[in-house]
C-alpha cells in the first residue's frame, strides 16, 4: 500500500527524492512556512522514507501556494513543489471526492483575491 503510494508519488511528480542533500533551502524560501505542519524539506524526506500517509492527512498539502520558489532555488533540482503537488494529487484521488466545491467559494472570497486564484484553486482541489 505504502510502497504503491510512494511509487505513485514519485512517478507522478517525476522527482528523484534521493537527490536531496537536506540543506533546507526549500523550506527557507517557502512563503507559507508558518502555515505548514510539514515543510517542503520534510515532504521530500518523508516521501523518500515512504512515510506518506501523514502527509496526505496534513493541512500542509493545501498551504502550498505552488509558487515554485523552492523549485527555483533548490541547489540540486529536486523540485519539492512537485512532490507536494503529487502527494496532494494522491490524497485527492484517494478521497474520491473534491476538496473544494463551487458553493464553498463565496465564503472564501475577499477583495484582494485575484480571479485567477479561484480558478486555479478549483482546478487544483477539485476533480
Amino acid at each position: 500500500m505504502n510502497k504503491n503510494i510512494k511509487e505513485q508519488v514519485l512517478r507522478s511528480s517525476g522527482v528523484n527524492v534521493l537527490k536531496c542533500m537536506r540543506c533546507g533551502k526549500c523550506s527557507a524560501t517557502c512563503p507559507s512556512y508558518d502555515e505548514m505542519e510539514y515543510h517542503p524539506h520534510q515532504f521530500v524526506y518523508m516521501v523518500e522514507k515512504g512515510d506518506i500517509e501523514k502527509l496526505m492527512k496534513s493541512e500542509s498539502l493545501y498551504k502550498c501556494l505552488t509558487c515554485f520558489a523552492c523549485v527555483d532555488r533548490c541547489p540540486r533540482n529536486v523540485e519539492p513543489a512537485k512532490v507536494v503537488e503529487a502527494v496532494r494529487l494522491a490524497a485527492v484521488r484517494q478521497q474520491g471526492g473534491n476538496r473544494l466545491t463551487p458553493d464553498m467559494i463565496p465564503d472564501m472570497l475577499d477583495d484582494d483575491l485575484p480571479q485567477q486564484a479561484i480558478v486555479t484553486a478549483l482546478r487544483k482541489y477539485a476533480k
Binding site: N16, L18, K19, M21, R22, H41, Q42, Y45, M46, K49, D51
Partner: protein, 663 residues
Amino acid sequence: MQRIGVFVCHCGTNIAATVDVKAVAEALGHEPGVVISQDYQYMCSESGQNLVKNAIKEHKLTGIVICSCSPRMHENTFRKAAAAAGLNPYLVEIANIREQCSWIHKDIATATEKAVILGRAAVAKVHLNAPLTAGESPVVKRALVIGGGIAGIQTALDIAEAGFDVDIVEKKPTIGGKMAQIDKTFPTLDCAACILTPKMVEASQNEHITIHSFSEVTEVKGFVGNFTVKIKKKARFVDETKCTGCGLCTEKCPMKKVPNEFNMGLDNRSAVYIPFAQAVPKVATIDPNYCMMLKSGKCGVCSKVCSVGAIDYKQQDRFIEQQYGAIVVATGFDPIKLDQYDEFAYNQCPDVVTSLELERLMNAAGPNGGTLLRPSDKSHPHTIVFVQCVGSRCDDSKGKPYCSKICCMYTAKHAMLIREKYPDTEVYVFYIDVRTPGKNFDEFYRRAVEQYNVHYIKGMVGKVTPKSDGKIDVQASDLLANEQLHINADMVVLAAAIEPDKTARPLATMLTTQMDTNDFFTEAHPKLRPVESATAGIFLSGACQGPKDIPETVAQASAAAAKAIGLLCKNSITCNPCVAHSDELMCNGCSSCEKVCPYGAITYIDKEFRMPDRTTKVRRVASVNPAVCQGCGACTVACPSGAMDLNGFSNRQIMAEVDAICK
C-alpha cells in the same frame, strides 16, 4: 674607536618629499663615532651602492647605517655591498625612514625629527654590532624514512629517484602499512593492492633504497645534515639473506592458532608467518610468543623443512648505526581502540566490526576470500548499519577532539561496494555531518545516495544491542524526522577515529620535534611549511602530521621528499649567524632555556672552570648548536642570569636602541 658611515636615501621623492634628508644627514653626522654622513638619490642603485662601497674603503668604516626603506626590502642588498667592500655584512644597520616614517607622516618637521631619531637608534645599535660569520656544516647525503607505509614508500622512491641513498625503517615484518590492508580506494574504487604492491616492489628493487623491516629507531643524535641514528633490527629468527619466501615453513608449522594481525584478528596464522602474499621483503618471521621451539625447545619443524637453512632460533636483536642528512617521519596512524564504547557493543558482538575489519572481510585475500559474511555465523548479512564519527569529534576522554577526515569517504565506499555486490542488502549510514571536500568526493558520496540508494540518516546511533536471534538492534535518532529509530541489523560497522601511531610520541622526543596534544607532529608553519617540522632537517610525511587520505598522503610524501632532496643536494648548510649563544661563565645550567627552545638547539655540557685559587670546578652549562638554532630569542628572556644572548639582537644592542629613541 668606531668609524661609522651614515647614508641617507632620498628614494626619489618617496622619502625626500616628507623628510628633509639633508637635515637628517647633517644631524646624524654629529652622532658619536660617525665620520661620514651623506645623502643620495637612490642608495640601492648601483651608483648608490658604489658610494657606500667607496666610503667604506676610503674612510676605513667599521660600521654603516643606511637610512632608507624597510630592512625587509634591501638589508641584503647593503649587506652584500658591504661585504664586497670588505666590511663584515653584519656591521650594517638599516633605519627604516620610508615605510615607517616618510610614507605615514605628512608634516616635514616632525617626520624629519622622527627620521633623525630612527637614524640615531641605528647608529647606537651599530656601535655594538659584532662581525658575524655564517657557519657551515656538512650534509650527509643519505636520508632516513621512518615508517614504510604508502607515505614512507613514496617519499623513499622520490628521494631515490633524485639519486640519493635512502633507508626505510619499518617496525612490522613487511612494508605496505595500512594501505596494504585496504580493499578498494575511493573515489575511483580501484584495488589498493593493485596500485600499492608495484610500488613496494619498486622500493625493494631500487638500488638506492635499503629496507630495514621489523626494525625500530632507538636513538637519534646530531642535527640537520648530520644525524646519527641507531636502528634496532629485531630478531625475526629467520636469516633474511637466505629466506626465499617459499612459504613451506608457514604451511608446515603446527602452531596455527595465532590471531592474524594483518586480517585484524579475524582469522589465524601460523607461528612462523609471512603477513601476506605480496609482502616486501617476502621473508618469513617467527613469532616468539607462539613458536613452540622458542618457547619450549620442542618442535623445530620449520627448520627441518627449510631447504635453504634460513631458520635461526638463536638470532638476537642487532643494532646498526648510520649517518643521515635528513629524516622523514612517516609513522602513520591507527584506528583507536573501541573498548570504552560499550554502547556500540564492539566487545560483546562479533558482528559489530570496525571499518578496517570490514576492509579485510571484503578483501579477496581476506578471511572469507572476498565474500561478505558475518563473522559470527558466516551468514550473509541483509541489513548493515554504518556508524560514523565513532570517537571522532569527541571532547570526552574516550575519543579524539578532531575530525578523522577519511571516514565519510570510506564509509560511502563501503556502502556503495556492498550495494553493488549484494543489491538485496539494505545499508544505513548514520552521520553527524557528511564531509567530502576533495576532488570527485562529493559526487562519489552522492552516487552512494542517489544511484545505490544507501540510506543516509542524520543522527547518531545511541545503543547497539545484540539479540538472542543473532540479529542486532540498533537504536538511533533520525534528527530530520525528529524521531527515534530501531533497525534490526545483521552487522554494524563502526568508523573508528584514527590516532597517530603509538610509536610517534617517543620518536618525537628522540627527534626533538614538536607534537600537538593529540600526538600529531606539528609542522613548522601551518600554511607555509606544512611538510617540515620546526626542527631543521626533519620532515613530515603522511598521517603522522594529521588525518589524511591516500592522495593527500602521497602528495605530502612527495613534498617531504622534495624538501629532503633540497637539503641533500647541498654540500653544506649555511647557518644563520644571528643565533643565541651562552656565556658559560654566567650560565647556571638551570635548563630554562632548553625548555623554551622550539628546536632543541640547546644541550648541556659539563665544563671545567679554573677558579682564581687555581682549583678547577666542573659546572653544567648550556651550549647552543648554531646549526640548529633559528634565532628567535625565547631563551634569552627565559635565562635569569642573562647568560643567554642573541647575536645581532643582543640585550645591549636593543637597549642602546631604546636609549637612543628615548633620548
